[in-house]
Amino acid sequence: MTQKNRLSGGQIDRDTTLKFTFDGKEYEGHKGDTLASALLANNVRLMGRSFKYHRPRGPLTAGSEEPNAIVELRGGARQEPNTRATTAELFNGLMAKSQNRWPSLAFDAMAINDRFSNFLTAGFYYKTFMWPAAFWEKLYEPIIRKAAGLGSLSMKEDPDAYDKGFRHCDLLIIGAGPSGLMAALTAGRAGKEVILADEDFRMGGRLNSETLGIDNLAAADWAAQAVAELSTMNNVRLMPRTTVIGAFDHGIYGAVERISDHLHTPDAGKPRQILWRIYAPKTILCAGATERPIAFDNNDRPGIMLASAIRSYANRWAATPAQRIAVFTNNDDGHKTASDLHAKGIKIAAVVDTRPDAPLAENYEVLRGAQVIDSKGRLGLTFAEVKLADGTMRTLECGALGVSGGWNPNVHLTCHQRGRPAWNEALAAFVPGDTLPPGMTVAGAANGDMSTHGALTTGAAAARKALGLKGKAAKTPDAEDAPVTQTPFWYVEGCSRAWLDQQNDVTVKDVKLSHQEGFRSVEHLKRYTTLGMATDQGKTSNMGGLAIMAELAGKAIPEVGTTIFRPPYTPTAIGVMAGRMKGMEFHPTRLTPSHFWAKERGAVFVEVGNWLRAQWFPIEGETHWRESVDREVTATRNSVGVCDCTTLGKIDVQGTDAAAFLNKVYCNGFAKLAVGKTRYGLMLREDGIAMDDGTAGRLAEDHFVVTTTTANAAKVYQHLEFLRQCLFPDMDVQLISTTEAWAQYAVAGPNSRKLLQKIVDPEFDISNDAFPFMACGNITVCGGLRARLFRISFSGELAFEIAVPSRYGDALMRQLMKEGEEFDVTPYGTEALGVMRIEKGHAAGNELNGTTTANNLGMGRMVSKAKDSIGSKLSERPGLNEADALKQVGIKPLDPSKKITAGGHLMNADGPVDAKHDQGYVTSAAFSPSLDSMIGLGFLKNGAERLGEKMRLVSPVTDLTVEVEIVSAHFIDPEGERVRA
């Protein structure tokens, strides 16, 4: 296989030949190639089809600004659509496919769209697919999406890993071109912590593409020498293959490092990419500039490229798109391309320069005052039509055309915090404005200093200024310092199908149509035409569109303005934003102390926040979760059950004012709670709405243990800290969470005391007299292990909660199971827990739903009038205490076989079913094996006075209507005899 268009020289490793395929055909390239350079070397110019019209396209650029050469890389689960061939590093075995074509790239049936281009102009979709509206989602959109030029997804899970990380430095330098390298050398030699990031795999920026010299070295060699020096400095971190994608608040920059994209598959354990968060008090943006094209009819044929890109392919990659090339320019830079290509042995068809006074050259013809007005060629350029200065026409035979309309500084990152660029008349381009992200300065071409000398000088100066370096500055290396002036030449007069945004198929005509139809604001222009909305974000097209709109509106370009530049600077994989947070590691999990034991028992787990809690424990023969749950409830009520309730929040409250503090926190009284006693407490928000409930046990005069619901553990802790620090700083109170420090198990059921008596050391009397309902205390278990015992009950049974240090939780659970065998002890999960608390009528998260008050919960009288507490005053608001306020009630179906569903609404037995006649709603529902019926809890207007009333439970969403009876919320043991047994 020959590389027909491979030139001499370049910065590729010719000793390392790499094989790759494009659309199934095998090619060879070299280490150091990109996919685009290797394809060009193999005489492949056609690399894709355009988004809308399916026009044949080849690369326009040699960098990340590429709009055209968008391909699918790799295969199988690693298939990656919409990847730029111009930045994809070649590796052995690379598999690339063109996209958005059928059946083949050379013959694309969808190219028929191009024939209907008159109908497919900007706004076509908006105008055409308006009617009927219902067709949009199911018909129009799928068809349009299928026809549009997006690559395909593998629909398989990405097998690669991604990661995130954090780096710090004194100075972040974005871009390793001449200004970036000089800034890094200056800062690095001064001993500062420097990060130099560049999106390219070879640092040097344009220096790698130019033949100019610096300090008597070839530019690329000088760059390599600078990189070599920097790499010896421990205080300098070089980050090639790293794109700084965004400038965020407080000197934080997002940067994506491509760790393994240049490999066939990542090395074992290595991520494909890392998203770095770089903390930099000072930053120098040295992002360079992007050459801008000139629009003329059919300027999108494969082979028509930016002149600087052709120069890069020739000088850096030793590749050329053709053996005969023309150049179309309005500035001197275009002549550099012609000169360098000529030196490489490429035949220059001519340099077409719009300037009447363009410099002439010895080695090729310069057509002064001329313009390329059209092109020809089926799947690639063969001829360029030139209108000469005298108005006559000339056809140039050429396989490629380098176009240079001047350079635009890459100001994008300067605008990520709403800064606006400023117009520079001399360059006819936007340069960084006055408002930059804090700590940022800009140097080199990104700041409008277009000469190499200017870039080197400003890079060094920016580093000195940013870091406050004193002393004499080092000598700036010798380099060209040609003055740069750019006379605007955006498009050829009279052109129509001249492409501005080649990725989104936006033409000069589309911009004119946008203006004609009144979409003249730059933001409207963008959205109406989709100019700049593709993956390249209009890096090569926006300026042209703005210029044309300005001309049509009779305004100057800066008056038209720019759209907002937002992160990311280049397309960024969603995977790298997730980092290692994927699958089961999407968020951290919290395991209860009995988790490993529960897993052995075959427990089914449920996520409760980050906790994994045992939901139920199926046993052999059980085929449905209800069988397990019913059994667990029945066994607990008949004998004894054990449930891991470690997840409830536990907050240690200590201090001489601990009791007074809790008296402020809870709406009911706590000041007089005796040592060794526990009390149920209700916390209100400042606005009087119920916030959370739980218990507080007093272990000593100055020591309480507060429990919270699982869901509100962190929220309540934050709330208490806020109260302690901000509202009651004069109180002597100290708080700390102990949720995970203690394994805590509910032991419930009539035999719970008997079971615990086998565990609790004999010196501790836990009889009903010695340890009555709501008692608490420090005890020891199993021969001396420190533990805590609380006689509290969520189930409504005689029950205790026992706590030991978490590391012993597994062993304690096993011990409880072993010692409880004689009582047929049964572990129960959160489902049985929920059933039993509904049977008992205990409120939980469903009832404490952020809208309910103590009054609603039937606890209005708990709100003490004898003291001030958080939320107590506002709980007295009339609106919360109306006569027909919602009250918690129990709900039973008249027919026990009928279903009760949470979320259903209560309606009178007769009358309309609508919001106006709504009487209340059901918050919790479960099947009660104790009552052999479904039951529910809910809130009903004036509910306390309506016990025994027959109503309808309706759920229009699930088409449910059930006749129900309003009953007490306490289905089981309403007198509380069991808990006191």
Binding site: Q734, S737, A741, P805, D810
Partner: protein, 190 residues
């Protein structure tokens, strides 16, 4: 030390501490650490600091610092709050012991099993830690201790030697997730 018959398990669910080595860096689960929080009572700050000074053999650490003493180590947790650590074998009931020393000068809470620990020892700490947390390890000195987030988990990172030893304390219930994060970072970076 108690003589009960319950066998403890580690935060990762085993009976012995887990150790993993990638390249020249080893991550070892810390299971022999007893912890207790100490918070000075209002108006007792000087007394608390004085007693802690005697216990630690040095003044209690300032913000962002740790004090490595024998038998106690201490990490600053917040204003007038420290986490004290000691060998679990000899100080399992650390809270009781400290309370006896500090009396009404401080509130003391057992924290031993609220936390899990992982020690990173060997070469390669910096590239691993920079994948885990936003601590600037390059400026970290021996005796520094910072509160940070690792894998969305609130953690302490205590620096023994930024090039040879750091200890990560994280929530015990999430030991598996924290261990996963550390191991992923080690494989990724080393």
């Amino acid at each position: 030390m108690s003589v009960h018959d319950l066998t403890p398990i580690t935060a990762l669910g085993a009976t012995t501490a887990q150790a993993d080595t990638v390249a020249d860096l080893t991550c070892t689960e810390v299971t022999d650490l007893a912890l207790a929080s100490v918070a000075a009572r209002l108006g007792q700050e000087k007394n608390c600091a004085s007693t802690l000074g005697k216990l630690l053999g040095a003044p209690p650490p300032d913000a962002g610092k740790a004090t490595m003493g024998t038998p106690y180590t201490a990490v600053w947790m917040g204003p007038e709050q420290w986490m004290l650590g000691a060998d679990f074998g000899t100080h399992e009931d650390i809270a009781t012991g400290l309370k006896a020393e500090l009396g009404d000068a401080a509130s003391v809470t057992e924290q031993t099993d609220a936390w899990t620990g992982f020690d990173l020892t060997g070469d390669g700490i910096e590239p691993v830690m920079e994948l885990l947390s936003n601590i600037n390890l390059r400026t970290l000195a021996p005796g520094d201790a910072q509160r940070t987030t690792i894998h969305h988990l609130g953690c302490f990172v205590i620096c023994g030697d930024p090039h040879a030893f750091v200890r990560i304390l994280g929530p015990r219930a999430s030991a598996g997730s924290l261990h996963h994060a550390i191991m992923t970072a080690m494989k990724s970076a080393l």
